[in-house]
Amino acid sequence: MSKRKFKVVNQPLRKIDSLSLALGKPAYVGDLKPADALIIKMLGSPHAHARIKSIDVSAAEAMPGVHAVLYHGNVPRIVHTTAGQGFPEPSPYDTFMFDNKMRFVGDRVAAVAAETEKIALAALKAIQVEYEVLEPVFRIQDAMKDGAPVIHDEPEAKAVIPVPYEPARNMAAKVDMEIGDMEKGLAEADETVDHPFYNHYAQHCPVEPHVSMAWLDREDRIIITTSTQVPFHCRRIVAQTLGIPVQRIRVIKPRIGGGFGAKQEIVLEDVVAMMALRTKRPVYWEYTREEEFVASRTRHPMLMRLRMGAKKDGTITAVGLDATSNTGWNGSQGLTVVCNSGSKMLPLYRCDNIHFLGMAVYTNLPAGGAYRGYGATQAAFAYESAMDELAEKIGMDPLEFRAKNHIKSGETSPVFRALGEGSEGVDQVITSCELARCIKAGAKEIGWRKRKPHTAKKGRYRRGLGMACLMQGSAIPEIDMGAATLKMNEDGSFNLLMGATDLGTGSDTVLAQIAAEQLGTTLDKIIVYSSDTDMTPFDVGAYASSTTYLSGQAVQNVAQKVRKQILKVGADMMDCKVKELTIEDSVVVRKDGSEQVTFSEIALYSMYTANQFQIGDISSKIVHHSPPPFAAHFAEVEVDTLTGQVRVVKYVAAADCGTPIHPKLAEGQVEGAVMNGICYALTEEYLFNDKGRMVNPNFGDYKLYTLSDLPEMKTILVPSYEKTGPYGAKSVAEIGINGPLPAIGNAIYNACGVRLRTGPFTAEKIWRSLQAGGEIPFEEGH
């Protein structure tokens, strides 16, 4: 529960940029394109695995209107990772701006910058390439076999932190952790389960595809305006990839049309920067939707084995999770995503014997990256499905089984210390957990008490209820840093300059609320400017559910400092002591009511009258905890047993995110994540042909839900107060996406006795399972 009354925080205020965006004001990269910008187009590899034997770009270069062609022969060959992560990165260095080896269908062959898109496309056709086609490998199990084609055989490929990395075996990452003795725990159990699961490929589908532009300013610096979640990592990695100083690059993030993790990655920026240098013209590159599917990033598909044991009384005696991800053609975020499969789910239930084996494997398919949920989504499917199966075996209601075992306030888990971001993690005691209330509230809303076993159901249309419990984190402790600058203007308004990156979540609003609350002013007095590497202090960027919790504390700290400065000037002006003063609604008042000065008067005084100085400061923050948000999700589905079609009738998400700084935006985070999760569970799917080419890279054949598909959806925010967070807040952005796959899967089982271990839950899979008496043989999908 909230510990105090707030004036700005936790209030139903309008998101600060929402009206201008609804008016259609120029805001995104594409809206800011200079009229004279050259258009960049990329020639993609037609082969999943090949070596360029020869390439001739002379005809393309000679075409009128073509200004430059880039390929492996005329750019620096500097190995790096495309993952926008802290430095040194936990992702392997295995990527070049251009290479002579092709590792997936769509891999970069050559880029053209031309006066028009038409000319650029024509120039791509004029590029002559001869390939030596190599044997490709697409499946996790095949990539791990002895003698499998080696995807990263270049000598430069390396890990830059001390972690296992064996590219010669297509192994991009490995982590192994044991607490207690899993085998002993399994032996002690009354009942056990041991099942495979497969999480399929999916894309973030931001409605704005990746888009970047660059030009040289009058001092010959490269100005990159880009749709990114990680402007500072982008600056660093582009400098590295081009072999130029960071100082020479400025990265500006305007509004972003969605990211969800896809834009925590350097996908276009190295090429636009290189092209700007080559052509000395503004250059612009926007992915097509097909390129967005194929050549940006995806959710890491994962092959899992989940072993678990429990006593009849519901005590969990052992959990074993083997998770192997398909990281595709590069190892971006491969290690950390799979680590999070362990670290973000395994602490959820008390257990003394836990084993976790995580691996990431290269294949010749699109590359995985950061995707909302970040490994926890994949693990939640396996773990929460297995929880249901084990509950049934020991004869317990799955809800009771979870309620009995889940972690609570004041408790810890050995997993927190054992498993971090590719290294050891950070110990923490849970200081806020309202999961029990989430379970109760959600169960009531969905009508859990009326739930009957599937054996009691008859008829063509059968309804079922399923649930799942979830946790995530809030920022990466001891690693991530955010900073903010705050300065006061003469009318009592403030400039809030932050590295933090609003990718559409509303973090600019949330952080401005925190500043206003701390200063004692109103939201409309805060002018937010974020994510410009020349103008704002550093922030790691928008990922790991960090912005509210981490950057929010940086903002709260700087606002606290500025508040002190304001009070000090007020005390000078009123010739009294600071402790005699307080702030009410942008006015510094004497507590006895005898005198007051407005913020504007204070600012004017500090600028023009006496002891002049700029009221303002800068603060940084790193965090020592990563308090998990918790959630309980409930789904009611209806299965048509004649066709196998499943429909979500109702979905309930009860979430504990601490104090919701902006309740509507917090609900929006849950609802957007849940809807994304529902689509992932039911319809979203990459289809590849036998050559590794995606055959459905468009919104006609890759189905996202629209308003017409919206089921009855209920979001319940169950507040807690996280004492380490700003005004009691934790994160909320990612957790919601983890629920639908297991909750809907469990509901399908409850409806008709069908257990699915591979998504999406298509009519065909359900129908085939019904024909097979409940389950079809497991296979690794795409």
Binding site: R14, K15, D17, S18, L19, S20, L21, A22, L23, G24, K25, P26, A27, Y28, G30, D31, H204, C205, P206, V207, E208, P209, R255, I256, G257, G258, G259, F260, E286, T288, R289, L503, G504, T505, G506, K664, L665, E667, G668, E671, G672, A673, V674, M675, N676, N698, F699, G700, L704, Y705, T706, L707, S708, L710, M713, T715
Partner: protein, 159 residues
């Protein structure tokens, strides 16, 4: 180059166009960037504009198809001093997250409401079937749209 003429946001305008230029390319070229490009295949609705009262996807129309017609874009619908009720409702409901799909949704919903001011939930569901939003899960969008229906306002169900 070819010369065409159509009514754009209430004013008769003339444009020189390429024969294969799309309507979205023309609009964005002349600075009306509120019409967004999300897929270029008519499947996401971000580029929805209103042509002769109907919502259409500007990315799969040639510019010449606008000749002699009336085209309304998001820029003609409202501004800071006089926003359209749909724009205010979207902002107030928390229905604008990244905002990239918002102009298309406003235009599509406006076309419906102009024709049927008392549109109900089923009407909105059908008409907005071509508009993708990846951020909101549509819950707040639905609230915002319904609050602008004469039906909802009259019965006090706006929320």
């Amino acid at each position: 180059m070819k010369k065409i003429e159509f009514t754009l946001n209430g004013a008769l305008r003339q444009f020189d166009i390429e024969p294969d230029e799309t309507l979205i390319d023309l609009l964005r070229r002349i600075g009306l960037t509120g019409t967004k490009r999300g897929c270029d295949t008519g499947m996401c609705g971000s580029c929805a504009v209103v042509m002769d009262g109907r919502a259409v996807n500007a990315c799969i129309l040639f510019a010449f198809q606008a000749a002699g017609r009336t085209i309304d874009t998001i820029e003609g619908v409202g501004d800071f001093d006089q926003p359209h009720p749909l724009q205010v409702a979207m902002a107030d409901a928390g229905a604008v997250q990244c905002g990239f799909c918002t102009p298309g949704i406003v235009m599509t919903a406006k076309a419906l409401l102009d024709e049927k001011p008392d549109a109900d939930e089923e009407d909105f569901r059908q008409h907005l079937d071509g508009n993708l939003c990846r951020c909101t899960g549509y819950v707040k969008i639905k609230e915002a749209l319904l609050s602008c229906s004469a039906n909802a306002t009259a019965s006090g169900e706006a929320s």
